[in-house]
């Protein structure tokens, strides 16, 4: 049959998948998605490679002092790095390329281990995430977001991700190891900080949060457990588990659609993720007992899937949308905790904490027995306030509390606590004795996966490092 306007060789073909197994249909869909991803990445990589070369060539051309021979060597050096990076793509890293030195942390979806790459001897932190758990809890988009933030940034304020891989059961993130532990552990140890020490950490957090915002992300989950300390005592942010970027892959419903289209299910409208919290208001004040309970349970809370809501801004719990101001609220709560010893809305139950956050006007109370300077109380009140009135970053930086802070050099000055490390594998800053229920070596998987792997498409990542030779 031939219609007018069509070429002479135009053929109508009746498509049907009736002659195929369910498996073949799914595999076809998977192959299509993977190939689309492959070409997208191939083009991006070509552009990035080109940019790196052009930038170096331009830099060298502008340098009148450097001898030509040295310029030539730098270009050859770049070519070597690019070649090594290509080689890394063919190298299949897996669990057996790493040896666990020690379990150092636990999060909602898995553990963090100090590992050593067996052939190079280099040290990394390896985060294990159980796929099944994340599918159950609708955390896929979050994982992707976490990977993207970490992967895209070269920021000194964000924990570097070098490599990621997966097996049918787990995702593995290979990150730089920060030997100083986290701010939560530090707060458990010191209880409170002086105003000077607080100024240092909060100022560094301001720059780190600003860096994340500049990358186009809202962290949404800034808390002391996610503020890590490097070997010099400076901070870096980790855990973008809850951060939402602006890529479409960060939308949870995107993953559901991906899975549905693979299984032939027509997706209904995307379900909204955030539930509304409407509950009766209890006007109980924070008592000493409550604080004690809270402190005792602090680490347990960090390990639970629910997580602690202590640092989350009220607008996140409402369904009316929010912007990156929510991260400044969290910072206010952390600052309060650094100076007072517990976060402003801590309660015996997470439920009660929600209530208090929603009615922060009544519950933001500065205790009489702790002396705070006028400046610090003022800054906290300008962060823990309604989203419209919260200070924007440039005004935060100008706040009198930060008087004397040199924002350009703070990362290079001496930190108040510099970890004393006896070796590159020193884990004395981690509560490793509290983690004995975690297996020393990750289990790994031997069975082959199902279609669920589709949702983890694009997960495998290898970092191009210009200034350090990872792996």
């Amino acid at each position: 049959p031939q219609a007018s306007g069509k070429p002479a060789d135009y053929v109508y073909f009746d498509r049907t998948t009736s002659g195929f197994s369910e498996d073949a249909v799914q595999r076809a869909k998977g192959a299509q998605l993977k190939l689309e991803h492959y070409y997208k990445v191939a083009v991006e990589a070509a552009i990035e490679r080109n940019t790196r070369r052009v930038e170096l060539e331009r830099k060298l051309a502008a340098d009148a002092m450097m001898p030509d021979e040295r310029k030539q060597r730098q270009l050859i050096q770049l070519g070597k790095k690019e070649s090594t990076f290509l080689r890394l793509r063919r190298t299949r890293l897996g669990l057996d390329d790493f040896r666990t030195v020690k379990v150092i942390g636990k999060g909602a979806f898995g553990e963090v281990r100090l590992v050593q790459k067996t052939d190079t001897g280099k040290i990394y932190a390896m985060k294990t995430l159980k796929k099944e758990e994340m599918l159950k809890k609708d955390q896929l988009a979050h994982v992707r977001a976490e990977r993207d933030v970490l992967a895209e940034s070269n920021s000194p304020w964000v924990v570097q991700l070098y490599y990621s891989f997966q097996d049918p059961m787990y995702l593995y993130l290979i990150m730089e190891f920060l030997p100083g532990g986290d701010l939560m552990t530090m707060l458990i140890k010191y209880d409170t900080f002086s105003e000077d020490v607080t100024r240092f950490y909060i100022a560094e957090c301001v720059l780190a949060i600003e860096a994340v915002h500049k990358l186009g992300f809202i962290h949404r989950d800034i808390k002391p457990d996610n503020i890590l300390i490097d070997k010099d005592g400076h901070i870096k942010l980790s855990d973008f588990g809850l951060s939402t970027g602006f890529h479409k892959q960060h939308d949870s419903s995107y993953y559901q659609r991906l899975l549905d289209s693979a299984t032939g299910v027509q997706s209904p409208t995307a379900a909204a993720r955030n539930s509304v919290m409407v509950n009766a208001i209890h006007l109980t004040m924070t008592s000493k007992d409550q604080i004690a309970t809270w402190k005792a349970n602090r680490r347990k809370l960090a390990y639970s899937t629910v997580g602690t809501p202590d640092y989350i801004a009220p607008e996140i719990f409402r369904q009316q949308g929010y912007g990156n101001e929510c991260d400044w609220w969290s910072l206010g709560a952390i600052m309060f905790e650094c100076l007072v010893g517990y976060p402003p809305f801590c309660s015996e139950s997470t439920h009660e904490t929600y209530q208090k956050i929603m009615n922060w006007q009544y519950h933001l109370v500065f205790p009489d027995d702790v002396h705070l300077s006028r400046e610090s109380e003022d800054l906290i009140r300008r962060l823990i306030t309604s989203a419209e009135r919260r200070l924007p970053v440039d005004q935060i930086k100008l706040h009198p509390f930060f008087f004397g802070v040199d924002w350009n050099t703070i990362r290079h000055i001496d930190a108040p606590f510099v970890p004393h490390l006896r070796s590159i594998t020193d884990t004395s800053y981690f509560p490793t004795d509290e983690l004995d229920q975690v297996p020393e070596e990750p289990a790994g998987a031997d069975s082959t996966g199902s279609n669920k792997d589709l949702a983890f498409l694009g997960y495998t990542f290898k970092r191009f490092t210009l200034n350090s030779t990872a792996f």
Partner: protein, 210 residues
């Protein structure tokens, strides 16, 4: 079995399928050797990716490529590829067996640290270019068979834009690095390769460079 009389040329050469493409624009962007980069490294990485991608697409039609449906490794009505066995004799094999041999052979090469080095400081062997030409020739045959024998299935599974682009990329890459002989792509006058005409057609419509 004889082809349906109504269709005098293979489906993959007919509109609209012949023009279906996932990747639009010039393949040069992703084919060209990046400046200062080692050519062996570049070719090795691309071979690795082609292998994975072809394997993936063959994977979706394996259930249709059986000893019964494809008793020989056919690439046109008048061309069956033969496999050189251990005794250096050329033998006819059913297509699934043939393809399995090809894929296993390539996989083993890629896992062989002396052929495809992955460890730091290891170099490619001097014979690497000629090894790659062999690999390329066999992978071309896998494409040729799928186009000849399984294109309707590719259409049923709505994968023709993807498969076409993968093959066009493969041809563009092979041409750039001289990994393909014209006679392998087109065959001989007596036994042409089916996809030879596809190559010509893509050069005409600009999917590939002339």
């Amino acid at each position: 079995t004889s082809p349906a009389p109504a269709i005098n040329k293979p489906l993959y050469l007919c509109s609209p399928f012949v023009d279906a493409a996932l990747v639009k624009g010039n393949f040069k962007t992703i084919v060209m050797l990046p400046k200062y980069v080692d050519v062996n490294e570049w070719v090795a990485t691309n071979i690795f990716d082609f292998y994975q991608n072809i394997n993936m697409f063959y994977g979706i039609i394996t259930e249709c490529c059986t000893q019964q449906s494809c008793p020989s490794m056919a690439a046109s009505p008048s061309l069956n590829y033969t496999w050189i066995n251990q005794d250096r004799k050329s033998v006819q094999l059913p297509a699934p067996t043939y393809i399995d041999y090809v894929m296993t052979w390539v996989q083993n090469l890629m896992d062989d640290e002396t052929v495809f080095p992955t460890k730091a400081g290891r170099d490619f062997p001097p014979a690497f270019p000629s090894t790659i030409k062999h690999v390329y020739r066999q992978l071309l045959r896998v494409f040729a068979h799928i186009y000849h024998a399984h294109y309707p299935q590719i259409l049923h599974l709505r994968s023709e834009p993807h498969f076409n682009s993968l093959f066009a990329h493969f041809l563009a890459f092979g041409r750039e690095y001289e990994l393909l002989d014209i006679k392998d792509v087109k065959g001989t006058a007596n036994s042409p390769v089916g996809i030879g005409a596809l190559w010509e057609r893509w050069k005409e419509n600009g999917i590939l460079e002339g």
